[in-house]
Symmetry: C2
Subunit: 219 residues, 2 copies
DNA sequence: GTAATTCGGTTGTTTTTACAACAGAAAGAG
DNA sequence: CTCTTTCTGTTGTAAAAACAACCGAATTAC
């Protein structure tokens, strides 16, 4: 687990802490490490969470499948990102979505109660971590609202423009890659894949953008 | 401002604190009180927030209008609820939405830095309030994900069922009222009002539900 | 009380999307 | 290398939503 400390140092959760301090906290927070093969579930809808987790290898999707097989991708989790933090509060209820590995992935689990309860031992960074937790979840909140903004658009084209513009802005470049293939992007925006594919090509023909695989350029 | 202390005592932000403690904190947090007439803006998109606010009277909508006048209602804020907390972190950027009073409303403003910085004076409840803040934003996060769930549904009927079912569950009753009129509900679910109205009536004819104004019963 | 405005429902038309089926290209397995 | 599977784009059709226009009822303003 030690080898992931440089990654943890980069996370929002441990922002401001040194490697030695993180190392000390790993024990204090009862960190556990699990690995998942591509396609495996990390969590399933309806489960009770008692951990905050950090992805240290791979890629995850937070998603939901309905009775008819329609998939909706809520969010992606990249290396260094956290998930499960919205269920840390007592009385949060059960998980609303599935969390699934879209690549071979490794996840660190931290005991929620250990984070929220100031421990008696030497590690005095709990209050800092709680504030980090608050900042991190704030950012997620803002991103969820942005996603709502994409999905609120009435047409597929507008949804695409809304999403791709944000991504360009976020990556500070008119050329950027997205973490989705076509089907996943359609599931993320809640539209039909073939219709979306069609719309993308029309937008290219209209001179709005170019693309190759998951690399896009806005014009 | 004192008269709102019983309301503040009921909020998630001050959960666990007594009236005297809240009273003390009002000064410590530099609370300010503002009132808004129906239709007035509390905040506008693009503003910088440096306050966490609590609604103590009235009703607010967090919403966004696009260039063509399409309105999208992100969320409602009821008495005792908080808003702006997602922008408390440094580097949060500017507000993505408008916040508007849909009734005559009164709002209390609290200085964010005062909340996050432990003050030197006697009031020792800051860490508790930060944790409360974290729990509150967690819940908002889960509700946003639920809203994404409604909006991810492909048809207007499914969106309605998804939203109304959740509302029934939340209010623990098959009969419940919603905080929207028809236009607002349409803006909330991002669909056309007349089409939605039509669909609601079809659903009633199909025996799925009954309604009168903003009072619904699921069958 | 009357006028004006808002609100909810209805209908017909146009536009958009979903759905289904297929084909070529690319990627992966053996 | 060859076979299989996945991925992306394409097309036509059916279904659904958006849009516009209108009406009566309810609410609000004066």
């Amino acid at each position: 687990m030690k080898k992931y400390i440089p990654i943890l140092k980069q996370t929002k959760l441990f922002d401001g802490l040194g490697e030695e301090e993180i190392s000390a906290m790993l024990g204090c927070l009862q960190a556990k490490q699990y690995s998942y093969k591509k396609g495996e579930y990390v969590f399933r809808q309806g489960e009770c969470l008692s951990n905050i987790t950090v992805l240290v290898e791979g890629n995850l999707h937070i998603q939901k499948d309905d009775y008819w097989g329609n998939r909706s991708i809520i969010n992606t989790v990249g290396v260094g990102e956290m998930f499960g933090e919205a269920y840390a509060a007592p009385g949060s209820g059960t998980l609303l979505n599935d969390v699934v590995a879209v690549e071979d992935s490794t996840v660190l689990f931290f005991d929620v109660r250990r984070i929220l309860t100031v421990c008696s031992s030497a590690c005095k960074f709990h209050s800092m971590v709680v504030q980090n937790l608050f900042f991190a979840i704030s950012e997620k909140n803002r991103r969820l609202v942005q996603k709502l903004g994409h999905m609120a658009k009435r047409s597929t084209r507008e949804k695409l423009i809304s999403y791709l513009s944000e991504e360009a802005k976020r990556q500070n470049s008119g050329t950027f890659t997205i973490p989705f293939n076509r089907q996943q992007l359609a599931d993320f925006l809640s539209v039909d894949r073939s219709a979306m594919s069609n719309e993308l090509c029309k937008m290219r023909d209209d001179g709005l953008l170019t693309f190759e695989k998951n690399r896009f350029t806005l014009l």
